[in-house]
Symmetry: C3
Subunit: 480 residues, 3 copies
């Protein structure tokens, strides 16, 4: 039975002198608090603090990184107890699903999931044997036992993980009741929301019609006039800010922006609300709305995040049976330079606007994103995202953006996850990769050691707070 342990030097470059530098840098941030300004955990967990039930429900069924890989090897989602469309649960014994996962643990070799899982298993649950077919039941039972204890309730883990701030993401039609409940509970954990209005902006979103109704109700505005619709966004942004939001988030296929005259906006909006906008008009409306969101960010100071480039629900049959977010989202080539121009013509030089650009198309790092962020005051680069949130992906991000955009046009790490237990693992990977990159620069005499020591604090804490407008809590990070 193979043993499980987390090596203290994991992810550091093998060269001994570089590794020694990385180790020293890492020591300075290993215990820094976690700041998670963008992610997808469920605020209900922290509102109710109800216990999770079992390993499958907690770790396997919600993690598309895991079930997409298993699916790619011919394993049906039903066998993994992944919910069908509308949340309908397949009749699968969660223990059987866990065993199937365990027997296929080898499929994840060399992937970030492998590192995240081992970190969760060793560090959160204290396992010292690796997960495989022979230890599946041992794991399943021990996790079930742990989850009933108070120490494994959501709030307890939040505190154990030393999370300084955790941002969730809610739609424009969300009443934010869980965030209100968290505040009402008196618990001091800082969980904030993020304004993600995609489903009331994208006429092609499958929840558009439903969410527009909720949007009208919650804002109390006449969302059927262009003016009222914009006012509704302003109101809801304020609602979100009241629940701690400092940022918005936007995820369309392209980064296209537009700058239409008001009459054009009104006419286009009329078509959208009448349901008569064609694909090009829908695209133009999303483009105009990205510009409107930038305009509102200039007004209200919210940081604007743009996550483009995913072809959602590529597998038509799977979408029909299982719905969204089932590992069938595939990146596409993404263009920024012309697409962002209309918005940048208006707001590119605003000194206080912060627009964070993400990408699933790594070719844009050196060609478009670093040059744009290395010039426009409003632009910052989000960290390596989704498929690229991995050791090699993060390393490429630094290697391909630093020389043109520098470190100071980046914003630190986002875990961007719904897998709450993996948050410490993910931040730890990011810190280790950053330390390894800085260590290489020091070893190659491209950066002084004192500069690297300064930078590792910035990448872990300083730039994150600055980009997302976060204040340092009274408890402050002490340099090691």
């Amino acid at each position: 039975m193979p043993s499980l342990s987390l090596h203290p030097d994991r992810l550091f470059p093998a060269d001994p002198s570089t590794r020694a530098i990385a180790r020293e840098l890492y020591a300075q941030v290993a215990d820094a608090p976690i700041i998670s300004p963008h992610g997808h955990t469920d605020p209900e967990w922290f509102a109710t603090d109800a216990p999770w039930t079992n390993a499958t429900e907690l770790l396997l069924a919600p993690d598309h990184y895991l079930f997409r890989m298993l699916y790619s090897q011919g394993i049906a989602l039903d066998e993994l107890a992944v919910p069908r469309k509308g949340g309908v649960m397949p009749k699968t014994d969660p223990r059987a699903a866990w065993r199937l996962f365990a027997a296929n643990r080898h499929l994840f070799r060399g992937t970030p999931s492998s590192m995240w899982l081992d970190h969760v298993f060793a560090d959160v649950f204290g396992f010292d044997v690796a997960l495989d077919a022979t230890t599946a039941d041992q794991y399943y039972d021990a996790i079930a036992e742990a989850l009933v204890s108070p120490a494994f309730r959501p709030r307890a883990l939040f505190e154990r993980f030393d999370i300084e701030l955790l941002a969730t993401t809610e739609g424009a039609g969300d009443d934010l009741k869980h965030h209100k409940a968290i505040r009402a509970s008196g618990w001091e954990g800082k969980v904030v929301t993020t304004y993600r209005p995609d489903s009331v902006i994208d006429p092609e979103h499958d929840s558009f019609a439903r969410d527009i109704v909720r949007f009208a109700q919650l804002s109390g505005e006449d969302v059927h006039s262009w003016k009222g619709y914009l006012a509704a966004h302003r109101k809801r942004r304020a609602d979100f800010r009241a629940m701690g939001a400092t940022a918005t988030d936007h995820g369309f296929l392209t980064t296209r922006t537009a700058n239409l005259a008001n009459a054009e906006c009104e006419a286009l909006f009329g078509k959208v609300m009448a349901g008569s906008a064609d694909a090009q008009e829908a695209e133009l409306f999303r483009a105009q709305m990205l510009t409107e969101m930038a305009r509102m960010s200039v007004e209200d100071g919210m940081t604007m995040q743009i996550h483009p480039g995913a072809t959602r629900n590529h597998n038509a049959r799977l979408f029909e049976s299982h719905g969204r977010d089932k590992g069938a989202d595939i990146p596409r080539a993404t263009e920024y330079v012309e697409a962002l121009r209309p918005m940048l013509d208006l707001f590119g030089n605003e000194p206080d606007l912060k627009v964070i650009l993400f990408t699933l198309d790594e070719t844009t790092y050196t060609r478009e994103l670093a040059p744009l962020a290395g010039h426009y005051p409003c632009l910052k680069l989000g960290p390596a995202w989704w498929f690229h949130d991995s050791p090699e992906g993060m390393r490429r991000f630094r290697e391909m953006t630093t020389e043109t955009a520098g470190f100071y046009n980046t914003v630190g790490f986002n875990d961007d996850t719904r897998a709450f237990l993996s948050i410490p693992a993910r931040h730890d990977v990011a810190r280790r990769i950053d330390c390894g990159f800085l260590a290489r620069l020091v070893a190659e005499h491209r950066l002084a050691d004192w500069e690297a020591a300064d930078l590792v604090q910035e990448l872990t804490v300083g730039l994150v707070r600055k980009a997302y407008g976060l204040k340092a809590p009274e408890r402050e990070v002490e340099p090691a």
Copy 2:
């Protein structure tokens, strides 16, 4: 006179601890048999077992990697004894061509050709001095002498190279007589064919008209009806399977697929056969046929290989004088996500279908190919191909695909070569690069040593057999 020797640590990372791990991993597969499931050697060699004549004919004139580089530096193909169009030989003394090549050996520094050549020279022919202008004749004479000996006949080398299986590639208009002759001869070397129907599918292929006639004759079907044309493919696929084929191969400029209604197919096919299809219709026909080939693979279990993205015969003057495959094929940006969608909508979730995707556009590794293969059950990633079949290319392939697709959605190495003598060299390079990559993961504590030991066997043997539906021979690989 510079000496020639193959360093036992070649291609391993320089860091001593990583190198030591790579060395150990390599020891486990250094002597594994060669499985070559995709390539372009000439089956006639093994059918007739006739000796090759001289170094130029054997090593230089057929190797487009070599003569393209020499051509780029202003050396005419005639001077290198490369055949002109229709196989017409220029009046060039093969020894003079060899001398010219030898005098320009330095042009290949840093290229994979350099490593392959030295491996062939040192390991196959036993040279201990490097090839250059001063040793050209010594090389030429020694090679000529070797080639007349029985030990250098094709079958003897096949056995000496410890080739477990060698797949050649034949067109749909090929009668497979050499494969039949190999079987009839009683020789036990396992040489199989691969079904490559491009020239009867692509209306713009310069052999289309001629090959359609052969296709009709060999299949005995009425290839002028859509139904008969498809039946002819089914027959010929069966013919190829009878000669050991487990795979088909398709190489168009794009990966576009289509799913037309039957009446549309018939109408389109009618135009194609009438010679009246325009460029868009030709593209649509190729697209529909990729889907038909996938459908047939679902039926008959043949693995489908897609090799897209080469702009063939880019140099118009050279094409006129020297014809195809003269080093003037240039890659193009290639799109997979939308192009494959019609086929994937139909067959993407088929658990037994195997479609292996290759690329000449490395930007698709992280952006499109790894995400697709990490989701769709039918998709696998072919190894770094053609221009990328090189140490840096292979390293990038692993670095850019593993984290999203894992190792188990890849299919091991293809030598894809017509240069028979270089086959051991090419497999050796691939094994060394894989060992170096695995060693880095182990040295960075991202993979346990026992996992790497398991993986190196999979990458060399296990995944190859699985992807191409090959059975292990009775003689089985013993782990070191």
Copy 3:
């Protein structure tokens, strides 16, 4: 106060055995003369030999690498004493601008600017403390003091830098008076020009109308007929050759070429000169003119450089206030394979034509540029350019081009700079990165040590002279 020193091992790989090899290779070229066949220094400096005035005017205000990064962090160009449109100087105390730069020195950590600056500070001016807010005045004063001394005049620095040849770049409407003055002065420094006719070829260039007039005057040709316009180019190319030019340079957004019939050319040219060409016609005219420039290069032997892919003046407001070249040029995806085909169909196989291709789109290195240069006799690859003229960028260039194009289809280093004092720093970085790359190949036994020793001379001197048709001076490089 942090100290400043240049580590002798800077930029070499950290692995000790690789570093030792790099060190040895570097020793062979560390003191080689600087050959700078492409750049943008001002010939007036060498014609008048007038002293520079202060650090801000010399080092900060003309360097778009510096002020673009400061601008991206919200610092106005006026505060940095960067001239406004038409050369109007803002009322900014240059010392205040320098202090602001110094206080933000940290923004450049990890960028090539950081290495270039430190090299200039330590090596050219002899500083041993780092620049920051506390040393800004010390720097400003010491630099001002140095600049009045004869040793810091342009010609003295030219000689101190051991520059064998320096090419500047002038437009087709330039009278080359500074180059004539240099020659008339009897000074022996070799400063040559380069023919850059963009502003008389691109109908959309903002100086087109003005420069066409100068072009007519200087050539004495009737530039309003197609024939006369071409003759004017031929005359001006001869004028430039008389001032030492061996090369031309062309920088449009795309690499499109065309091969129109003469009547079509005349009609298109008529529209262009009438000011009635639309965007597509302007693009077609540029395309035809690239082909005409290649044709003239076949005639007169001038090396043709193509620098495509920059979206110029992306920031509309900044362009309005500050004009061109203010750090707001952003790369775009660039296509070469189809774009160059018309020109290559005509001249691709010309043995004496030399066309050097550059790119801002690194994805083309392996996919298009290396395959093209590894086949066509006329094509060579320019070094990593602009945003990619950096340690990581240069490393990627070698890793992504060498295996397909080899070293011998590359042309050595271009500093391509207007920052004269940084020229030694830039060449030093290039030499160190090349030595590190070669050292890795040697350490991995992919290249023999004697091959690397040969190559480092070629990359530093031999290939540069060959690509740009330069003769070795009587003083020749001695191998170390």
